[in-house]
Symmetry: C2
Subunit: 176 residues, 2 copies
Amino acid sequence: MKRIAFLLAAVAVVAGVVVSTAPASGPTHEEAAPILGIKIFPGYRDWRLISVAHEEGNLNDLRAILGNDAAIKAYRKGTLPFPDGTIIARLAWSYVPSEENNKVFGRNQSFVPGSAPDWYLQFMVKDSKKYAATGGWGFAEFDKDGKPADEAMHKACFPCHEPAKARDFVFTRYAP
Amino acid sequence: MKRIAFLLAAVAVVAGVVVSTAPASGPTHEEAAPILGIKIFPGYRDWRLISVAHEEGNLNDLRAILGNDAAIKAYRKGTLPFPDGTIIARLAWSYVPSEENNKVFGRNQSFVPGSAPDWYLQFMVKDSKKYAATGGWGFAEFDKDGKPADEAMHKACFPCHEPAKARDFVFTRYAP
């Protein structure tokens, strides 16, 4: 862990900054994510769908995984590792029953996005040189107001993704 | 119900046909949906995200709701009723635990898209004149091979959507 922390700190020194503008909706905060200097990518809410998921437990969310053009192209071709320029965005919402839908069905069956959780927005940014110390990926996490998570949160990203090394550290598979 | 069936039959007679080509993935079948003559829209898998959901019970799916440009524009502006030209696509996958993700977390927590269910792909197509008898919406449903559902299935679409009349018969809200 000490070694990882050191490497992440070293990456932070050389990390660049991505210019951010307001997406169609969602956070617009201009503060850069700590450690890797990644800002919210403009237009991420317009990116194409990679997949969806539900996480139980502490997360208890519904999530959509979107990709920029490079990400979608790589996913559809099955390209591994992902090429530099790939950006994957993970949006999450709290997992709540839809009372209006359930009324129609006559039973509890429909779960929909509720409010944005603290971990609303995450990015994985592929740059094999810049982020060499973390598998070629830069990680960034923001709340619904666009405020980046703290350093401790960011340090947890890569260790958690390491078990997915065989798929270039990316958990999400493409939903056809 | 008799009246609805009659109206749907009447609509079928005047319904047009949409030209279909293969999307980036998913079904490519050329058979038109019965009743309304709607075919699979080309490129629907590239449309932007409206929302995600999980349906329990008999459906037991994870779903993504995508929209064409007209749909996304209307959703973001809060335009109701949706303008003619709006198309909403609903993709669904069976709701399955992700063994590879759960291994990393050390507990059962991650649910991801599995195989495509029989009701894989649905469209709502807004044309207030052509589909006047069903709230201005044409409904179509396809399996993973692009084969349309039967007439009985299609007749169930509008009656089920009627309770959402206040929101122009559309259940899904935009996930910001």
